[in-house]
């Protein structure tokens, strides 16, 4: 592509980030770079601040110090209209789905489209149905209300809404938790396909070792209030840091790796 930027340009650059709630410091001096077209996973123990980091990057939370650049634009202290334009360019899947409970799934997916485009309603409904299909839901789900969905279906409907604007950057908070293994596998496949055909950048929080092995380019390990390891999965599992070892050297971690090696 003639117009495309050089492949290594960072989409997200976090420098010296500090986030705290009251006196509790969650992140201290955290650095993180995510390049265009990369699928990056954030891992770390429960409560290590993965969701919090995502919320800071998508401008829901003001950091106490440091800088965050999103699409080459500083977002710490950003103005409202600039923030609105940036929001058009990424989608977020919230950990609990966060679907609007009074709207059907199709209307939920259509909300960002109505807000950010001037397409006719007919076209928007078509696009919404496509996103619902892309997320792996049967067509009749579109007419249902969130309360009529199972936990896994909520995840996928939320994914459909995150994909609504065909964002260049996708944030996913635990996308496969609550999915059955078959759909989780299909989800990994979808992420890889979207990345390859759309040059999508994906940042996801996940505890799913299969996803980590099969869908990610690099994995950032959060611990001790910063990123203590950032490498492709194969290298990260060989890291020396005791927290990282404890995370991957458990029986589940080893089983996933062996399965991976056998598959290769």
């Amino acid at each position: 592509m003639a117009l495309s930027m050089e492949p290594a340009a960072p989409v997200i650059a976090v420098r010296g980030l500090r986030i705290q709630f009251g006196a509790t410091v969650i992140h201290e001096n955290l650095d993180l770079d995510i390049r265009r077209g990369e699928v990056v996973a954030l891992v770390g123990g429960s409560g290590s601040g993965k969701t919090t980091l995502l919320r800071a990057i998508i401008m829901l939370l003001q950091p106490a110090a440091g800088s965050i650049q999103l699409f080459d634009q500083e977002i710490v202290g950003i103005g409202d209209s600039a923030a609105f334009r940036l929001r058009r360019r990424f989608g977020m899947l919230f950990q609990q789905g966060a679907l609007f409970s009074s709207l059907t799934v199709r209307e939920n997916v259509a909300v960002p489209l109505h807000e950010h485009t001037r397409l006719p309603a007919q076209r928007i409904a078509e696009i919404a149905d496509l996103k619902i299909a892309l997320a792996g839901l049967p067509a009749d789900t579109g007419a249902k209300l969130p309360r009529e969905l199972s936990g896994g279906m909520i995840k996928r409907a939320a994914l459909a809404r995150a994909l609504a604007l065909d964002p260049a950057l996708l944030f996913l908070d635990e996308p496969t938790s609550g999915l059955d293994p078959v759909s989780a596998g299909a989800f990994d496949e979808l992420v890889v396909q979207l990345k390859e055909s759309l040059k999508l950048t994906v940042v996801m929080v996940t505890h799913d070792l299969d996803t980590l092995w099969s869908a990610t380019d690099r994995v950032a390990f959060l611990g001790e209030k910063r990123v203590i390891g950032y490498a492709p999965m194969r290298e990260l599992t060989r890291a020396e840091h005791p927290l990282i070892r404890a995370y991957f050297e458990g029986p589940r971690g080893r089983a996933a790796r062996e399965q991976m090696c056998r598959a290769k």
């Binding site: 397409l119 149905d129 579109g142 969130p146």
Partner: protein, 376 residues
């Protein structure tokens, strides 16, 4: 990215080949629909050339695929030529996912007016029956509580008395004081014309103690406390906390309803007495300012015209109002289904219904008391 490049999807014909160019993306296709409908396609074979496509996303792919589908439905053959590898992969992905989602079932037929009317009647009847069943359940739970008084949640009771009763004192004081002033002012104008100034005591005391103070207090409490009962239980219903209570073996009735019900039955009569005092005081202030009836004249006459029966009849209505407000508030809370908007809807219903029922009950009281001759 170079600025000033128009982001648009373009399709144009060049020596028999239809060239797709530009940006087949969400932004690009906004301008596509109109030119597309103006194209006159040749019969037979249509060659679509995708080499000029700068960027394509799933929305653009959808447009392209539905274009192809339209053409094929009109029995044309579409040849896709010179599409890039990754664009074809995306088109395939979109096509495959749409196919596996299946087709949309037809929308349910629209209901006729008669059917809607019937459904709405049935809905409201079942609502009324549900409320009766709820009252029954609450009574059973109350009976169970009498048998095992040790199980009662005293902390919840006192907490509720504090929020529903003590914290409501300032607003009740203010509003009933002002009601006293208003009644004394309106009535006083008339009495003054006849020189019957001293009858202001009857006017203010009896209207307030028998009717207005209990009613005003109940309406304030319905708006303030009944709504919060609905919102609290409704939110717990949304977050499955009510189900969690059941699973742990705590009947929601015992924890969420009975303490509220009893707290309000205790607090509302007390609030009514308080409102009685403040509204009569408001009347006294007005009587002195407007009708030259001094505080001591007023208080001398007060016990002569207000019998204990009048006072007790007013206060005696309060526990009934309290039960109505608490039961409606809790019942509507349990009726919440789904999410945030349902909480809002049920809260509105709760306030409207409890105020309606309170006034209706007050009317029933008037008729009954009148017919047994307890007018004074």
């Amino acid at each position: 990215m170079t600025l000033n490049v128009p982001v648009a999807a373009i399709i144009r014909q060049e020596s028999g080949i239809w060239r797709c160019e530009g940006y087949w993306t969400l932004d690009g296709i906004e301008t596509l629909d109109r030119p597309l409908s103006g194209i006159r396609w040749p019969a037979g074979v249509v060659q679509l050339d995708g080499s000029g496509i700068q960027a394509i996303d799933t929305t653009g792919a959808l447009c392209l695929l539905s274009l192809v589908a339209d053409l094929e439905r009109d029995s044309r053959q579409v040849h896709r030529i010179q599409f890039r590898e990754e664009h074809l992969a995306l088109l395939d992905l979109v096509q495959e996912r749409r196919a596996s989602a299946g087709v949309l079932p037809p929308p349910p037929p629209r209901q006729s007016g008669l059917e809607r009317l019937g459904r709405s009647v049935a809905f409201h009847l079942s609502g009324a029956l549900g409320f009766l069943a709820f009252i029954g359940e609450a009574a059973v739970a109350l009976g169970r509580l009498m048998l095992h008084p040790g199980r009662f949640r005293w902390r919840a009771l006192f907490g509720n008395i504090e929020t529903a009763g003590v914290n409501a004192l300032p607003i009740i004081a203010l509003l009933s004081f002002m009601m006293g002033i208003v009644i004394a002012y309106q009535g006083g104008q008339q009495l003054k014309a006849y020189g019957a100034n001293i009858f202001i005591v009857e006017l203010v005391s009896l209207t307030m103690l028998r009717e207005l103070a209990p009613l005003i207090t109940a309406i304030i409490v319905a708006g303030r406390t009944g709504s919060s009962y609905t919102a609290q239980i409704g939110t717990m219903q949304v977050t499955e906390e009510v189900d969690a209570l059941r699973t742990i073996g705590i009947p929601p009735m015992d924890l969420l309803v009975l303490p509220k019900l009893l707290a309000l039955i205790i607090a509302l009569p007390l609030l009514t007495v308080f409102a009685d005092a403040l509204s009569v005081f408001g009347g006294m202030v007005m009587a002195r300012a407007l009708l030259e009836v001094s505080f001591s004249d007023f208080l001398d006459r007060f016990p002569q015209v207000v019998t204990p029966t009048s006072f007790l009849l007013g206060v005696g209505k309060a526990p009934v109002f309290a039960a109505i407000i608490a039961l409606v508030g809790c019942y509507q809370g349990f009726q919440v289904r789904g999410g945030a908007d349902s909480v809002g809807r049920q809260t509105t219903v709760s306030v409207v219904q409890s105020i309606f029922l309170v006034i209706a009950a007050d009317a029933v009281f008037s008729v009954i008391l009148g017919s047994v001759g307890l007018w004074r």
